[in-house]
């Protein structure tokens, strides 16, 4: 048995680890087209239209057509681009997104054909920090992508991305500290287990709101999509990318949305637990997590359909002057309540 590289709560034999990793990567990969289609369909309904409905029945093959179209395009590179970085940047982005996907727990340790298997890629004891670490690497993907394109718009977009990600990562992290203090553990499975009885969205409601607002900024979603800001910046850091490289960026963006909704599900919405203490076999929990993640994604889409984009200075002042103090206050109050009770 190979000892895992990270300090983990539970680990299986190596062959189970490989199979589980493949399985959860498969699940993540297949969630992306689902989220893509859900976004376009639901956004259409919000705007009183159907959304894509031409490819396949009800348009369910639209994401496949999108991806095929992107992959069959010419590989184009601007003359001013820095070659190897231009190729490396999207790969960094997608690698980081995939890495972060590994810790979303879909269930506790369950018996699969007599073999105990944890329903997660890896259960690291540092939990959310792992996600933030990969978020920081993903930021290299955006920054290098914008810089290596050799285009002013791309560079402006990636500079904005840098400032935005740094500002909002702080508030996002602080919002999660309240949960960690309440659960007394950083392991994500531990946090879900601690939510038996009451999901943390109730005692940590402010934490949840701050986390969600910061998450919109972290994933470059409207109303904080200044990084892309089609009206001002053409397309931001991915302006010069086309074909497969653009597909990677696009994929990474939606994977990040999935990871963030997975984090929200795990930290605040009780993970695989059902309300009112209904207990289910482990495999049901897997689908419970998927359903909850999709509900969070629909909230993301709902916000996108509602709010206009913020101005750049408003974005910065919201991050530093509103969200960060609120998150700190939330953390302090939680700490005082937990230690005194």
């Amino acid at each position: 048995m190979i000892p895992p590289l990270a300090e983990v709560g539970f680990s299986e034999p190596w062959w189970v680890q490989v199979l589980a990793a493949l399985f959860f990567a498969f699940v993540g990969l297949n969630l992306v087209p689902v989220v893509l289609l859900t976004e376009r369909k639901v956004l259409g309904r919000f705007q009183n239209r159907y959304g894509p409905n031409r490819v396949g029945p009800f348009g369910i093959l639209t994401p496949v057509a999108d991806i095929l179209k992107l992959l069959s395009k010419e590989q184009f590179r601007p003359r001013t681009a820095v070659g190897w970085l231009f190729v490396l940047a999207p790969i960094l982005s997608i690698t980081a997104a995939f890495g972060a996907l590994a810790i979303i727990p879909y269930g506790n340790v369950n018996d699969v054909l007599g073999q105990p298997v944890g329903f997660y890629g890896i259960d690291v004891t540092i939990g959310p920090l792992y996600v933030f670490a990969f978020g920081a690497i993903a930021f290299y993907g955006l920054m290098l992508g914008g810089w290596s394109s050799g285009s002013k718009y791309s560079f402006l977009g990636s500079m904005r991305a840098a400032a935005q990600l740094i500002s909002y990562e702080v508030a996002q992290g602080m919002a999660l500290v309240g949960v960690i203090i309440t659960a007394q553990t950083m392991s994500l499975t531990g946090i879900v287990n601690a939510q038996e009885g009451m999901w943390y969205i109730v005692p940590q409601f402010f934490g949840f709101v701050i986390f969600m607002v910061a998450s919109f900024a972290e994933t470059n979603r409207p109303p904080f999509d200044l990084v892309e800001a089609d009206a001002e910046l053409v397309g931001g850091y991915n302006t010069e990318f086309g074909g497969g490289k653009f597909a990677l960026y696009y994929f990474a963006e939606y994977l990040n949305v999935i990871v963030i909704s997975g984090m929200a599900t795990t930290m605040f919405l009780g993970g695989w637990l059902l309300p009112f203490g209904i207990s289910t076999p482990g495999w049901v929990g897997f689908f419970v997590v998927i359903v909850k993640m999709m509900l969070v994604v629909i909230v993301f889409i709902w916000i996108r359909a509602t709010l206009p984009r913020l101005r750049y200075d408003q974005l910065m002042s919201l991050g530093w002057k509103v969200l960060l103090p609120l998150a700190t206050l939330n953390m302090l109050v939680t700490a005082i309540v937990v230690t005194t009770s």
Binding site: R45, F46, N48, T306, L307
Partner: protein
Amino acid sequence: MSWDPGSDVVEVTRGPQKAGGAAGLYRAFGETLRGLKTTFGQLTSGVTTFQYPEEKIPVYPRFRGRHRLHRFEDSGLEKCVGCSLCAAACPADCIRVVAAENTPEHRVSAGERYAAVYEINLSRCIFCGYCEVACPFDAITMGHDFELSDYNRSDLIFTKEMLLAEPPDRTPLRAEGE
């Protein structure tokens, strides 16, 4: 110079100039929720899209679509007498008429002469309907057909046979009071 505006003064209620601390935050949160409620209402109110090629919007009776030439219903003779008044009225100069004399053996129209050539260049036509107004015999009218795109410009020159032919029934007409 002081002028009393009297009752012309309109008072405008503006929001506070500064964001205003906790109250501003609370207000922003409330307004966000109100916006979310509005968009959610749109989610349940259904779609307004027409699935165009399958589902067509009916046109009004006076809709000016592709032209039609007419015949007398009883005798089958063409109404057009080749007077070229439509061509004279056409501001886009897209109608070409060449008239010829009717003979007892070869009678095409009810009048003295008939249109040997009658062409409308629909890539020029602006669908103003002046030809319809100019025609003394109601020989040319604007139909309801508006799906006129083609791959070739020369295919958009409609000849007399095409204009006389019954158009394929593909444009729904709006019913009375619809």
